[in-house]
C-alpha cells in the first residue's frame, strides 16, 4: 500500500524519543469523539449568530434597515454603523472591513450580523433586514483586472544579473504561460467561534491557527486594553491556512454580538457559508521567458506573476513575496528577473493556503522546465539534473545555499525508486507526437499511461525578516511537583505539534514525556510565540522549546551540584528545587542567526534560514474516451532535515500531496458573475478514498544545525510538487501541453480539439 521509510543520514547518536513515532497524545480523544472542537464547546446560556451577506459582487448599499418587529423576540442586530470602534480587521493592515459600510465588494461579504436564542431564530432574524443595493460594475477575473490597470494590491521585483542581455545571447528562448485556479481549504470542521464576557474580559474561543492574530484584531477594533481580551483555541478540525486569517473576522463578529446581546454567542458556519465567505488560494497566471543554452543549461529566467487577491489586501503582500521567492524553483541561473503583482477583483479575499503562493509559481516553473527540456532535446530528468541548485549555488536574491540544499539528492532518489526516465521515454515513444487519438469512439482501447516528474523546495519559517522582528517567545516553568510546563501559542490543527513538542522537550531536557505538561493555546496564559503557519512550528518554536527546557534542566542540575545532592530522578529533584524558592520560570526568544540577513526593499539576501526539498513522480491513466485522469500513484521523496516523528512527518507529505493532486485534477471554484456555482461539497469536489492515488513517501534526513535536532519546517512542502508532477504525467500520456489546473476532462477535451484544429 505504501512504502514510506527514511534513509538514515549516518550515525544519529542517542536522541531519545527523536525519530520515533509514538501514538499522538490527542489521537484517542479525537477517535472517540471526546475532543472538543469549536462547535462542541458547552456554554451555558448560549445564543447563536448569523450573518447577512451580499448577493452582489460590487454594489452600493443604498439602504439597510432592521425591523425588530419581524425578528424573533430579543434578537440583536449590528451593522457597520453600530461598531464601537474602527471598522477594520487588523492583519498586515486594517483595510478589510468587519462589516461592509456603504459598499459591498464581493458576493458573500458580511453586511450585518444578528444574534438570537437558537440557530433557527438567528437565521429567521436575517429576514428582518431590508437592504437596497445599487449594483456597480464588477471586475471578476484576473484577466479583467489586468485590463483595468488599477493600482495593484501589492508588487514585488527580484532581479539578479542582466536578463535582457542573457536572453538576447541565448541559443534558445522558451516562452510559456501557466494558470492555476482558486482552491478551497475544505477543512472538515467549518469556521466557528464563540464569544462571551468573563471577569471583565472578552473571551473568544474557537477554531484557529493564530490565537494572537485574533487577539490583535479584537484589541484593535474594539479599543480594548490587551489584558481585557482573551483568545483560546479549541481543538482545530483542519486549517491549511484557512484558519490563519479568517478567524480574526469571525472572531470579531462573535465578540461584537456577545457584547451587544450581553450573553455568550456562537457563530458556526455551515459548509455553504464557509465556502462562500472565507478566503481561498490565490488564482495565478505566471508567464515565463527562459533563455537556454543548446545543452539545456538555464541562462536567463524572466518571470511575471499575477495573483488574484480578491476584494481586500488581507495577507496578499506576503503571499506574493513567497510566490516570487519560489518562482525560479530549485535551480541555478545567473540572470533572473521575477516581477509580481497582486490585483484586486470583486471576489472573496484570497489568503493563506498551504504553500502560500509557492505552489502556483512552482507549478509554472516545473511546467516551463518540461518545455525547456523539449526545446533542448532532453528528458525531464536530464534538464533538472543539469540545472539543479546545490550547496554553494546562489538563489536570485543572492542567498548562498548551504549544505542543507538537497534537491539533487531528492531527484536522484526519486529516479532510483521509480525508474522514471525509462518509463517516461517508453510512454513518450509509444504515444509518438500527436499520435494518440482521443474521443474518436473506437472501442476496447486501454487508457493512456504517463509519468511526470517535479522538483521543488519550500522556504521554512517566515519570509524575510519576519522571525527576526517577532523574536517569538516560548515560556517554560517548573511546577511544584517537578514537572516542566511548556507554554506556547501554537495550535494543533492536525499536523501534530501536540506529539512533536513533547518529543523535542523530552529529548532536550533529558526527561520522560510524563515529566512534561503543555499549556493550552490561550492568550491569557501563554506568550505570543507567533502564528501556527509558514512551516515554522517545529523548526522555530520547537527550537525555542528545546532551549527553554534545557535551561531549566541546567538550573536544576547546577543547583543539585551546588548543594552536593545526588542527581536522582529529575522530577523529584526539580520539586526540591522549586520548594527551595529557586527561579523556576524561563522565557526564551527565537533568535535569528546573524547570517540570515534580508533586505526587504531590494529583495537581496537570505529570505529563509533554510529550505526543505522534494521530488515527486506521478503516474496517471487517461481515459481515451472521457478524458478523465486517474492518478495511480505519487512517489514523494522529501528531505526534511530530521523527522522528529516520522509517521506524522510522512503524514504531512501524504496529506499535502493529495491536496495538491486534488488541486491538479478536481478542485475548481466556479464563479459566474461573481456568484458561486459550486458552493457545496456535492459540487466542489475533493478527492475521496476512491479518487486518491497510492502515495509513497520517502523521507530523507540531513540534519540542519539551525533546527531542533536538525529538523527543518516541512508542512507546506508537499503542496508544491503534486500538481506539476500530475500535469507532466498527463502530458506524457496524451501529448497535450497542460498549462492549467485543474485538468478537468472538459479542459483536456478542449486542449485536444484545439490541437487538432491547429494540425488541420
Amino acid at each position: 500500500m505504501t512504502g514510506t521509510d527514511t534513509v538514515p543520514a549516518g550515525e544519529r547518536g542517542d536522541l531519545g524519543p527523536i525519530g520515533t513515532s509514538p501514538p499522538r497524545p490527542d489521537g484517542l480523544a479525537k477517535a472517540t469523539g471526546a475532543a472538543v472542537f469549536a462547535d462542541d464547546l458547552a456554554v451555558a446560556g448560549l445564543w447563536f449568530g448569523a450573518t447577512l451577506r451580499s448577493p452582489h459582487p460590487h454594489a452600493r448599499i443604498a439602504a439597510l434597515r432592521f425591523d425588530p418587529a419581524r425578528a424573533p423576540e430579543g434578537a440583536v442586530a449590528l451593522t457597520a454603523r453600530d461598531l464601537p470602534g474602527f471598522n477594520g480587521v487588523q492583519l498586515i493592515d486594517d483595510e478589510w472591513p468587519i462589516l461592509a459600510d456603504g459598499v459591498v465588494r464581493h458576493v458573500g461579504e458580511a453586511v450585518a450580523i444578528v444574534a438570537a436564542p437558537t440557530r433557527v431564530a438567528a437565521r429567521r432574524a436575517l429576514a428582518a433586514f431590508d437592504v437596497e443595493y445599487e449594483p456597480l460594475p464588477a471586475v471578476l477575473t484576473l484577466e479583467a483586472a489586468a485590463a483595468a490597470a488599477a493600482p495593484p494590491l501589492a508588487e514585488v521585483e527580484i532581479a539578479c544579473g542582466d536578463v535582457e542581455a542573457a536572453l538576447a545571447a541565448a541559443e534558445l528562448v522558451v516562452e510559456g504561460s501557466y494558470r492555476t485556479g482558486h482552491q478551497e481549504h475544505i477543512y472538515i470542521e467549518c469556521q466557528a467561534m464563540t464569544a462571551w464576557e468573563e471577569d471583565g474580559a472578552l473571551v473568544v474561543a474557537g477554531s484557529m491557527q493564530c490565537p494572537y492574530y485574533v487577539h490583535k484584531a479584537l484589541v484593535h477594533a474594539l479599543g480594548l486594553p490587551p489584558d481585557r481580551a482573551r483568545v483560546r483555541a479549541t481543538a482545530v478540525g483542519g486549517g491549511f491556512g484557512g484558519k490563519e486569517d479568517y478567524p480574526s473576522l469571525i472572531g470579531l463578529h462573535a465578540a461584537l454580538l456577545a457584547r451587544a446581546a450581553g450573553r455568550p454567542v456562537r457563530l458556526a458556519y455551515d459548509r455553504h457559508e464557509d465556502i462562500v465567505a472565507t478566503t481561498k488560494r490565490h488564482p495565478a497566471e505566471v508567464s515565463h521567458r527562459t533563455g537556454v543554452a543548446g545543452d539545456g543549461t538555464l541562462l536567463a529566467l524572466d518571470v511575471e506573476i499575477l495573483l488574484d487577491g480578491g476584494a481586500y489586501r488581507t495577507l496578499s503582500p506576503v503571499v506574493l513575496s513567497r510566490a516570487a521567492l519560489h518562482a525560479s524553483g530549485p535551480y541555478r541561473c545567473a540572470h533572473v528577473r521575477v516581477r509580481g503583482r497582486v490585483l484586486a477583483t470583486h471576489t472573496a479575499p484570497n489568503g493563506a493556503f498551504r504553500g502560500f503562493g509557492a505552489p502556483q509559481t512552482q507549478f509554472a516553473m516545473e511546467r516551463q522546465m518540461d518545455r525547456v527540456a523539449r526545446a533542448a532535446g532532453l528528458d525531464p530528468y536530464e534538464v533538472r539534473a543539469r540545472n539543479v541548485a546545490g550547496p554553494g549555488d546562489r538563489l536570485p536574491t543572492g542567498q548562498t545555499l548551504d549544505d542543507s540544499a538537497s534537491a539533487r539528492l531528492c531527484l536522484e532518489e526519486v529516479e532510483r525508486r521509480t525508474g522514471f526516465r525509462e518509463r517516461w521515454r517508453r510512454h513518450d515513444a509509444e504515444r509518438g507526437r500527436g499520435g494518440v487519438r482521443f474521443g474518436d469512439g473506437a472501442e476496447g482501447r486501454t487508457p493512456a499511461r504517463g509519468v511526470g516528474l517535479s522538483l521543488y523546495f519550500h522556504g521554512a519559517g517566515f519570509t524575510g525578516n519576519g522571525e527576526r522582528r517577532m523574536r517569538s517567545p516560548v515560556a517554560a516553568r517548573l511546577l511544584p511537583d517537578g514537572r516542566i510546563e511548556v507554554l506556547t501559542a501554537m495550535t494543533d490543527m492536525g499536523q501534530g505539534c501536540a506529539a512533536v513538542f513533547p518529543q523535542i522537550a523530552a529529548a532536550a531536557a533529558g526527561v520522560a514525556e510524563e515529566d512534561l505538561v503543555f499549556a493550552e493555546p490561550d492568550t491569557g496564559e501563554v506568550p505570543d510565540s507567533g502564528p501556527t503557519v509558514a512551516s515554522r512550528t517545529t523548526m522555530i518554536v520547537g527550537g525555542a522549546i528545546a532551549r527553554a527546557v534545557s535551561e531549566l534542566r541546567r538550573r536544576v542540575d547546577a543547583w543539585l551540584a551546588a548543594h552536593g545532592e545526588e542527581p536522582g530522578p529529575f522530577r523529584a529533584a526539580a520539586a526540591r528545587y522549586v520548594a527551595a524558592g529557586e527561579p523556576a520560570e524561563v522565557v526564551v526568544h527565537h533568535e535569528t542567526p546573524e547570517a540570515q540577513r534580508f533586505d526587504e526593499e531590494r529583495y537581496q539576501g537570505a529570505a529563509y534560514p533554510t529550505f526543505a526539498w522534494g521530488a515527486d513522480v506521478a503516474e496517471v491513466e487517461v481515459d481515451p474516451d472521457t478524458y478523465a485522469v486517474r492518478p495511480l500513484r505519487v512517489t514523494a521523496v522529501c528531505e526534511v532535515g530530521r523527522a522528529i516523528h516520522p509517521r506524522l512527518c510522512a503524514g504531512q507529505v501524504e496529506g499535502g500531496t493529495l491536496q495538491a493532486v486534488g488541486w491538479a485534477l478536481l478542485e475548481e471554484v466556479k464563479l459566474e458573475g461573481g456568484r458561486y456555482l459550486n458552493d457545496r461539497l456535492a459540487t466542489y469536489i475533493i478527492p475521496t478514498a476512491r479518487d486518491a492515488p497510492r502515495i509513497d513517501v520517502h523521507l530523507l534526513e540531513r540534519p540542519w544545525e539551525g533546527g531542533p535536532f536538525g529538523a527543518k519546517g516541512m508542512g507546506e512542502l508537499p503542496m508544491d510538487g503534486g500538481a506539476p508532477a500530475v500535469a507532466a504525467a498527463v502530458e506524457n500520456a496524451t501529448g497535450l501541453a497542460v498549462e492549467e489546473v485543474p485538468i478537468t476532462p472538459e479542459r483536456l477535451f478542449d486542449l485536444d480539439r484545439a490541437g487538432r484544429r491547429e494540425r488541420g
Binding site: T6, R24, G27, T32, A689
Partner: protein, 160 residues
C-alpha cells in the same frame, strides 16, 4: 409539532422527542450533547456525521428523527466504551489515521461497521467502504494502513 420515538441509543432504551423532521445529527449533538458526531457539510457528502442505524452506517444529517423509532442507534461514543473496539482505535491512531480529528469519528464508525463484516478487508474494499467519508489531512494513507493488515512497509518507521 413534536413526536417521541423510542430507540436503543448506545445500548440504552431512550425516548427522543422533537420535530419529526429534526435531523438525527441535531438530536444527538444539541439535544443529548453527544458531540462526537460531527457536521461537515449537512448534505450527506462528507460522512463526518456517520452513525450506525441497526448496525449500518448512515449519515445522521440525512436521517430525520421520525425514522429512528424502534431502531438501534450507535454513535462513536458507543465505540469508545466497547472493549473490542479499543484495539482497533489504538491501531487507528498508531497508524497515522488521525490528524485534525474532524472526520475521524465518522471514519472510525464506518470502518468499524466494515470490520464487523470482514475482519481483514482488502484495500479496495476499504477504499469502497470509505468513499463516502472525506478526509482532508491524511491522503487516506494512514487510515488505510490502520485497516489493511497486509500492507507492505510500515510508513514512517525509521530504517535504523
Amino acid at each position: 409539532m413534536s413526536v417521541t420515538v423510542r430507540a436503543v441509543l448506545n445500548g440504552r432504551e431512550t425516548e427522543l422527542t422533537g420535530h419529526p423532521m429534526e435531523r438525527l445529527l441535531d438530536v444527538l449533538r444539541d439535544g443529548l450533547a453527544l458531540t462526537g458526531t460531527k457536521e461537515g457539510c449537512g448534505e450527506g457528502e462528507c460522512g463526518a456525521c456517520t452513525v450506525l442505524l441497526d448496525g449500518e452506517p448512515v449519515l445522521s444529517c440525512l436521517v430525520p428523527l421520525v425514522q429512528c423509532d424502534e431502531r438501534r442507534i450507535d454513535t462513536v461514543e458507543a465505540l469508545a466504551g466497547e472493549p473490542r473496539a479499543r484495539a482497533f482505535l489504538d491501531r487507528f491512531v498508531a497508524a497515522g489515521g488521525v490528524q485534525c480529528g474532524a472526520c475521524t469519528p465518522g471514519i472510525v464508525v464506518t470502518a468499524w461497521a466494515l470490520l464487523e463484516r470482514e475482519a481483514r478487508p482488502h484495500v479496495e474494499a476499504v477504499r469502497d467502504a470509505l468513499a463516502g467519508n472525506l478526509c482532508r489531512c491524511t491522503g487516506y494513507e494512514g487510515i488505510l494502513r490502520a485497516l489493511v493488515e497486509e500492507g507492505p512497509a510500515e510508513s514512517g518507521e525509521k530504517a535504523r
